[in-house]
């Protein structure tokens, strides 16, 4: 069954350029097409500014596309956005929370929007926090007292609390220490096994992509230039590493900064 079907998706942003009064249209995604099967994990690699976050935001119904179409488990993003929202959740690079509220309060707030009552979240929140490696005894501490790694674990817990069938991960381990990165990766593997979740992972971490994804795509300046298994990509470009694949496909190294993304 197809979980995600994206067809010629296009997004542009208006940007004021220097002293020019008129704003110009800057393409963020250019006719991107791909599909993800149910239960699959697809990683999209790209530099900063390549359009990864724009893609995740479009699939999260947080942006409106300028062209093309996309469906999540058969529900159209534009026409049936509420049905899409019931199926998805997202973890982004910024673990955004009400900083004065505790992790338990933040999770309860998020869960209510998905119809979860206090009777349901009461036992579920400590349970899910334990699962992501967050000490449940700290769940009443304000978020501002927690480290970046701890906050990101709470962000994972928030996404999983609502049992999404499509998990959108936008650089979920950026800024984490090596140990936290490995914990998060293990957790993503575990979620795929236990929840039958489909995962779209946007990252600029080659190791992470190779470790987690069934297929890897490369997004370059808004264009999806390839999408295949790591072995197929290496064979197609005649290289031995994903780094080599990226260089061959885009003409640049992944670390080269392309600029801030919208």
């Amino acid at each position: 069954m197809t979980a995600v079907h994206v067809s010629e998706l296009r997004k542009e942003f208006l940007r004021r350029n220097g002293r020019r009064v008129r704003r110009e249209r800057v393409p963020a995604l250019r006719d991107v097409s791909f599909t993800i099967e149910r239960g699959e994990c697809v990683a999209i690699l790209g530099q900063n500014g390549s359009g990864k976050s724009t893609l995740v935001r479009l699939l999260s119904t947080l942006l409106l596309a300028d062209g093309g179409s996309a469906t999540i488990f058969g529900h159209d993003l534009g026409r049936d956005s509420r049905a899409v929202r019931r199926l998805i959740n997202r973890v982004s690079v910024e673990a955004s929370f009400f900083k004065k509220m505790s992790s338990a309060e933040n999770l309860a707030y998020a869960a209510r929007f998905y119809g979860m009552t206090p009777a349901q979240t009461g036992p579920r929140i400590p349970e899910i926090l334990e699962r992501v490696g967050f000490p449940a005894s700290r769940r009443r501490e304000p978020m501002e007292n927690l480290s970046r790694g701890m906050q990101q674990k709470v962000a994972l817990a928030r996404a999983l609390l609502t049992a999404p069938v499509l998990l959108l991960l936008d650089e979920p381990t950026t800024g984490l220490d090596p140990r936290s990165r490995l914990e998060v990766r293990d957790f993503i593997r575990q979620v795929r096994k236990t929840h039958d979740a489909t995962v779209l992972l946007c990252t600029h971490d080659l190791d992470e992509a190779e470790a987690l994804a069934d297929r890897i795509g490369i997004l370059d300046r808004g264009r999806l230039v390839c999408l295949a298994t790591p072995e197929e990509l290496k064979a197609a470009y005649g290289v031995e590493t994903l780094e080599g694949v990226f260089f061959a496909a885009t003409g640049r190294a992944l670390e080269d900064d392309e600029g801030e993304e919208e």
Binding site: T61, L62, A83, R90, S96, F98, M101, F113, G115
Partner: protein
């Protein structure tokens, strides 16, 4: 039928979640709440002392009545400020914390989300307004033997529907202008009250402003609460103020939702939901 009941239940849980979150935030910022309450008391006193000031400088006025008129106007000003502030925070605070994208990608309908904010704003505003009235009144030797406080609260509650509708319109402004949108809520509050006779009768206004007063819910809210507190008007006598409030409320809520949806669409088209600095 069962599906519809489940969907309604989920929406009600979401609405309660919005109220619950605001209660958490009030608790976390309790000292700030107290500080702002003190500021509101001080601000209200600066207005209400005017009546005694006029008498002290030789003016011939009914100090009791003028003090009460000013007190009601100042409390209404504060109440409207609280409603608009909480509704505007729907966007502004969440945008600042970065949570707005998670809230807006949740499957809760926007009307229920805003209704939750409106419900909290009204309850919070009413509690603070009652306290404000009591605290400021204690500074003056006010005698209100005929006051119908229940009637005044009914007028305020009915007017709140319209205020929430207008608040929904102003709450979208931070999406359109992240830097200055919040302040525009204060502009709306000021404009609404200046044409509504906040500290003076509407009849002293220029004719075009008097016309605006007829479509402002604050006009009827001020007249109704003053009639109830000063003259002890019962609900039957307050009907002249209540029915326009019902009509304006019936128009302003769908209008507010429509404006908010337009703003949300604009933000999603131009990528303005994301926090930028």
């Amino acid at each position: 039928m069962r599906g519809a009941a489940q969907s309604l239940r989920a929406e009600l849980v979401g609405l309660a979640g919005v109220v619950e979150r605001n209660a958490y935030l009030v608790r976390r910022y309790l000292w700030w709440e107290l500080a702002f309450f003190l500021w509101t008391v001080a601000n209200t006193l600066t207005i209400v002392f005017i009546a005694e000031g006029v008498e002290a400088t030789g003016g011939r006025i009914d100090v009791q009545e003028t003090t009460t008129v000013l007190l009601i106007g100042a409390v209404m000003w504060a109440y409207l400020g609280m409603i608009f502030e909480i509704l505007t925070e729907t966007v502004a605070w969440e945008r600042w914390e970065g949570t707005i994208e998670y809230t807006f990608m949740a499957p809760l309908s926007r009307s229920v989300h805003l209704a939750g904010m409106g419900l909290f704003a009204v309850v919070y505003g009413l509690v603070q307004s009652v306290l404000l009235f009591a605290v400021v009144a204690s500074f003056f030797d006010l005698s209100l033997p005929e006051a119908n406080f229940v009637g005044a609260l009914v007028v305020l509650a009915v007017a709140s529907v319209s205020f929430v509708g207008i608040g929904m319109m102003t709450s979208v402004l931070p999406l359109v202008s992240p830097e200055k949108g919040t302040q525009l809520g204060f502009v709306a509050q000021g404009v609404l009250l200046v044409v509504s006779g906040v500290y003076y009768p509407v009849s002293v206004l220029p004719e075009w402003m008097q016309w605006l007063a007829t479509i402002s819910p604050a006009t009827y809210a001020l007249e109704g609460t003053r009639d109830a507190i000063l003259a002890g008007a019962g609900l039957g006598e307050l009907w002249d103020e209540l029915w326009p409030l019902f009509v304006i409320g019936a128009v302003s809520i769908p209008l507010g939702l429509g404006v908010f949806r337009l703003g949300e669409r604009h933000a999603k088209r131009h990528g303005k939901l994301k926090r930028s600095g």
